[in-house]
């Protein structure tokens, strides 16, 4: 079973060389820590920066330079800043190669819910609805089950949707799972030490298991 860092580490393997990537808040942010040597990636933050760098040194903190999670950041050489319309313009014109974000629920046809729990939590969708509507490739980073122990991989999402038919791949503490074009969770890899049975038990939607399922290499 993976911890959060492990999930980030596994997702880092999905990041291809010379790509533009948007990282959501939480586990996705950690992915930047585990990029393989020689992988050139340019991170976009949808609040208006391309070429996001590491957190600043204490003496260099600038309140005018933040990421979409409102954390203070730096800009790398070659960075550019722009307004929010251009930022979502590059998202909607499919210039972002990969979007990695968290989710509260994913359905077996690739629907995602991550912005609202009616009557309980009202935070808003931020840029998530834009990102999932237009990303070329979406990987969801999340826990397989919620705090109540219920599966977050469902036949159909219960929560209000963020987007429909958009998720391509899910990485959890238990497994790497793809969404089949015709629907269904295709088991791709098991986390180290995790059995197929464990994954089956934690997946409420239809789990498709084709042949041997390898254990992931990190």
């Amino acid at each position: 079973m993976l911890d959060k860092e492990g999930i980030a580490k596994r997702i880092a393997k999905e990041v291809k060389n010379n790509t533009y990537v948007n990282l959501g808040i939480g586990i996705p942010t950690l992915v930047a820590n585990y990029l393989h040597e020689g992988i050139n990636v340019c991170f976009q933050s949808e609040n208006g920066l391309l070429g996001v760098g590491p957190f600043p040194k204490e003496y260099a903190v600038d309140p005018d330079v933040i990421n979409a999670g409102k954390q203070t950041i730096t800009a790398l050489p070659g960075a550019s800043s722009f307004d929010s319309a251009m930022s979502f313009g590059m998202i909607h014109s499919k210039k972002i190669d990969l979007t990695i974000l968290g989710a509260m629920e994913v359905s077996e046809n690739g629907d995602i819910a991550n912005w609202k729990i009616p009557g309980k939590m009202v935070k808003g969708m931020g840029g998530a609805m834009d990102l999932v509507a237009s990303a070329k490739h979406i990987i969801v980073a999340m826990q397989h089950v919620n705090k109540a122990g219920e599966s977050k991989l469902l036949a159909k999402c219960d929560l209000p949707l963020t987007g429909k038919n958009c998720v391509k791949r899910i990485v959890t503490e238990l497994a790497v799972i793809d969404i089949a074009p015709e629907g269904g969770f295709v088991l791709i890899e098991r986390a180290p030490g995790v059995s197929i049975e464990q994954i089956k038990n934690a997946t409420a939607g239809k789990l498709l298991i084709n042949g041997d399922i390898p254990e992931m290499a990190l």
Binding site: K57, I66, Q71, T72, A85, G127, D130, L161
Partner: protein, 247 residues
């Protein structure tokens, strides 16, 4: 063309541009009445018009509709207006940093319309570009699409979203000149230039105000034509929501 004459005329009035200078925030917001619709720039607490928010607070204006990406935090930014129940309705994309907001929303005291962040940006831009509406794929198949016209182009579905119409746009820039030209710094740009284009009246507060000619024309983010009032703000707190550093 009488070149000499043309030339001379211009030399006689070196400052041909339109001056928009007001003395301070109180003067800039003086005619904002109860019930107005305001656009407020900023992302989180980054690039927000601190001076104008304070002046509206002091002026006592209430019953406001605020269009802003976020709603501030409990004790800063738009949160200050919420605390004093000056806001009737918020149109935002993300309001997760504000407990008082959530309380007012869940109790029904506050009307809230949550819209995708890109849609917020595009609806401001549409207003500034004279486009009555735009198409966006954001929100298709979600509750955001409820009651909205949708249309398929090249096999993909889009929602029709109308341009925003605000009585006042209130923005914060890094530098500006008395002709209303604005330059923003890094991610403090965010929605500011878009909202600046969209207000019936646009008010800009800047950290540093200069004379026309001091800013490079090629580096101006918001041309002065979009700005009606400008002043140099003071005592910027620029509060940081999440101070993250590396060793």
């Amino acid at each position: 063309m009488k070149k000499g004459n043309f030339d001379m005329k211009f030399n006689n009035q070196l400052n041909t541009m339109i001056h928009k200078l007001v003395t301070n925030a109180a003067a800039a917001v003086a005619d904002i009445t109860d019930g107005s619709t305001l656009m407020l720039g900023g992302f989180g607490l980054c690039g927000i018009p601190e001076n104008c928010i304070q002046a509206i607070l002091e002026k006592g204006t209430t019953n406001l509709t605020c269009i802003s990406n976020n709603a501030g935090v409990d004790d800063f930014g738009i949160g200050l207006l919420l605390q004093q129940k000056r806001v009737k309705k918020m149109i935002s994309s993300y309001v997760g940093e504000n407990e008082e907001f959530e309380r007012q929303l869940l109790s029904g005291e506050l009307e809230v319309e949550l819209i995708p962040q890109g849609t917020l940006a595009f609806r401001c831009m549409a207003a500034g570009y004279g486009m009555p509406a735009i198409y966006t794929p954001a929100g298709v198949g979600t509750e955001v699409a409820a009651g909205k016209e949708s249309r398929i182009f090249d096999g993909k579905e889009y929602l029709l979203e109308t341009a925003f119409n605000a009585d006042f746009a209130i923005v914060k820039a890094w530098k500006g000149d008395t002709d209303g030209n604005l330059i923003f710094k890094s991610t403090a740009r965010n929605f500011n230039p878009l909202m600046a284009m969209a207000g019936k009246i646009t008010i800009a507060e800047v950290e540093e105000l200069v004379e026309p000619g001091m800013l490079d024309p090629d580096q101006i983010h918001t041309p002065g034509i979009y700005v009606h009032r400008i002043f140099e703000g003071k005592n910027y707190e620029k509060r940081i929501e999440k101070r993250t550093t590396s060793k």
